[in-house]
């Protein structure tokens, strides 16, 4: 384990909790001098995904980025207010959120995940959302849960 995080990943789903996580992750990354990447996963079950059947790869990518754009715009607004955060990356994936987050950790060489305690899940009684719970169980790196 590298004790000081060099690359922080913050998965977002557009929820208020995830936007708080972006703000928190931005400040943390800036404080420790780490890179920050915002990840949005277009759900395999979403309407955007349904419309992608049979499309060319480039068209699928364009649709994924179009689906992610409003969420990234909100994340950008959060990060604009963070001093000393030079740039941040934005990555969009398609599939099951927890699985895509776990995969991204390995591919992007992430050493800290910062995420909201719960996202858009309608199960209000669960304090820790199911995606956060899965990521906590399966991620190879430390996971920070922000509420």
């Amino acid at each position: 384990m590298r004790p000081i995080p060099r690359h922080v990943l913050v998965p977002v789903d557009g929820s208020l909790h995830s936007m708080h996580a972006v703000a928190y992750a931005g400040r943390l990354a800036s404080s420790v001098g780490a890179r920050l990447t915002v990840l949005y996963v277009v759900l395999a079950t979403s309407s955007e995904a349904m419309g992608m059947r049979g499309l060319e790869r480039a068209d699928i990518d364009a649709k994924l980025h179009a689906a992610a754009a409003p969420v990234f715009a909100r994340a950008d607004a959060q990060l604009d207010t963070v001093a000393d955060l030079s740039t941040h990356g934005e990555v969009v994936r398609f599939g099951q959120p927890a699985a895509e987050i776990i995969t991204a950790v390995g591919q992007l060489d992430v050493d800290l995940i910062v995420m909201g305690s719960r996202g858009l899940s309608p199960l209000k009684e669960l304090l820790l959302g199911s995606v956060s719970e899965k990521v906590l169980r399966r991620a190879a790196c430390p996971v920070m849960v922000v509420r």
């Binding site: 384990m1 004790p3 000081i4 208020l16 936007m19 708080h20 703000a23 928190y24 400040r27 943390l28 404080s31 420790v32 001098g33 909100r74 607004a77 959060q78 207010t81 963070v82 800290l112 305690s117 304090l127 820790l128 906590l136 991620a139 190879a140 790196c141 430390p142 996971v143 920070m144 849960v145 922000v146 509420r147």
Partner: protein, 152 residues
């Protein structure tokens, strides 16, 4: 957009410590984060001996009880502070000893010490003698009022 203002950076980190290897790794993470964030760090040990909780009207009894708590906690905390010295980050941590059920005591300490980042860990298996296995971690993740970072 969130209606609340941006959350500030963590100012006071708390890391519960039980002497296991993974809890030593948590001290590593907590101290490097505390250094980078210029935050305070407190290392906490919870003595889980129910017979040592509460207080007695007899002052001599109370003295013995506190001595017993110290005798149990000191060697464990010494391990954490030795690690901190080895890391040589220059971070000076405070220590905190509590007696009781770990999750409850950690929550109380968060409140008492104004902790705004809790550093925890999760083990895959709860070996005998490990005080902070999965259920304590899960419990704290659900109940902690502050952000929690979980080491694997």
């Amino acid at each position: 957009m969130p209606s609340q203002p941006l959350q500030p950076k963590p100012r006071h980190l708390l890391v519960p410590f039980d002497g296991t290897d993974i809890s030593l790794a948590a001290v590593d993470l907590a101290s490097t984060l505390a250094k980078a964030l210029v935050a305070n760090l407190t290392i906490m040990h919870v003595v889980q001996d129910r017979s040592l909780t509460g207080s007695s009207l007899d002052e001599a009894d109370d003295g013995l009880r506190l001595a017993r708590i110290e005798a149990l906690a000191r060697p464990v905390l010494a391990k954490a502070f030795a690690r901190l010295a080895d890391l040589d980050t220059g971070v000076r941590a405070g220590e905190f000893i509590a007696v009781g059920e770990p999750a409850d005591e950690v929550l109380q300490a968060i409140d008492d010490l104004n902790v705004d980042l809790l550093v925890l860990w999760r083990t895959k298996h709860s070996a005998l003698g490990e005080l902070f296995f999965g259920s304590t971690s899960d419990d704290l993740l659900d109940r902690a009022p502050c952000p929690v970072v979980v080491l694997k």
